[in-house]
Amino acid sequence: MNIKIKLFAAAREMNDTGELTLDVPVGCVVKEMKRMVSDDYPNMSELIMRSAVSLNREFATDESVVCEGDEIALIPPVSGG
C-alpha cells in the first residue's frame, strides 16, 4: 500500500520536499517503516534514528501499525519555545 510521510525542518530541507510517498506492506509497523525510509533516503538515516513518528497527530510507538490513509509524519527532535 502507498503511504505519505510528512517531513519537517532538517528532514524537509534535506529532501527538498515536505512529503515522501512510500510503498509498504500491509501490517507494516513504525519501526519497519522507519527502516525503509532510511534505506531509501540514507542522507536522513541519522536523523530518522533520532526521530519520532506520529500517526494521526499522536506519537506512535515502534510497534504501532501503519494503516492506509493514516496521517503520518516524521518528527525530528523538537526545538520550539
Binding site: 519537517f8 532538517a10 533520532r50 527532535p77 523538537v78 526545538s79 520550539g80 519555545g81
Partner: protein
C-alpha cells in the same frame, strides 16, 4: 487561547486573555530571540511547525495543566516563520487563585511544550551558517511516554 501565528505576538493581548476576577495571580512567560548562545551570535530565528498536531498537543498539555493545578485561564501562543532579535517566539499566560500555581503551571507548560510539541527552530548564525535545532544531548521521552504523561493526554 491556543494559537500558532506568523504575525508578531501581542503579549499584552495574551496576558489580557487570561484575565479573571477569580484570579489573584497571572504569570506571563515570553520567550525571545536571544542574540548570544555562549559566544555564538544569532541574527534571527525561523520556526516551522506541524500545525494541526501542534495545536492538538498544546491543547492536551493545557488539559493536563488544568487537571494538575487550579487554573482560571490559560493561553499558549507560538510564532512561526522568521523571528527577529528581541521578538517573541512564544508567550504562555496562566491565571490562578494564588501565585504559586501560576508560576508552576506556566513553567511546566513551557517545559513540556519544548519536549512534546512539533515545532522546530532554525538558527541563523552571524557567520552565515544556518542550523535546524534537533537536540540530541538530552534523551527525549520515547513516543510511548509522550502519550502516557500523567493525567492522560
Amino acid at each position: 487561547m491556543i494559537l500558532i501565528t506568523d504575525k508578531t505576538i501581542d503579549t499584552s493581548k495574551v496576558l489580557n486573555s487570561v484575565k479573571s476576577n477569580l484570579a489573584g495571580a497571572s504569570v506571563l512567560f515570553v520567550g525571545t530571540t536571544r542574540q548570544f548562545t555562549g559566544d555564538k551570535e544569532t541574527i534571527q530565528l525561523e520556526y516551522e511547525c506541524y500545525e494541526s498536531m501542534a495545536v492538538e498537543k498544546i491543547q492536551q498539555l493545557v488539559d493536563i495543566a488544568e487537571s494538575k493545578w487550579n487554573i482560571e485561564q490559560c493561553s499558549v501562543v507560538h510564532r512561526i516563520g522568521v523571528v527577529e532579535l528581541g521578538e517573541a517566539s512564544i508567550a504562555v499566560a496562566v491565571s490562578t487563585g494564588h501565585r504559586k500555581e501560576s508560576f508552576e503551571a506556566a513553567a511546566w507548560l513551557v517545559d513540556e511544550l519544548k519536549i512534546q510539541v512539533p515545532i522546530w527552530k532554525k538558527e541563523f548564525w552571524a557567520d552565515g551558517k544556518t542550523e535546524w535545532v534537533h537536540p540530541n544531548g538530552v534523551p527525549r521521552p520515547s513516543p510511548k511516554d509522550l502519550n502516557s504523561i500523567e493525567g492522560g493526554g
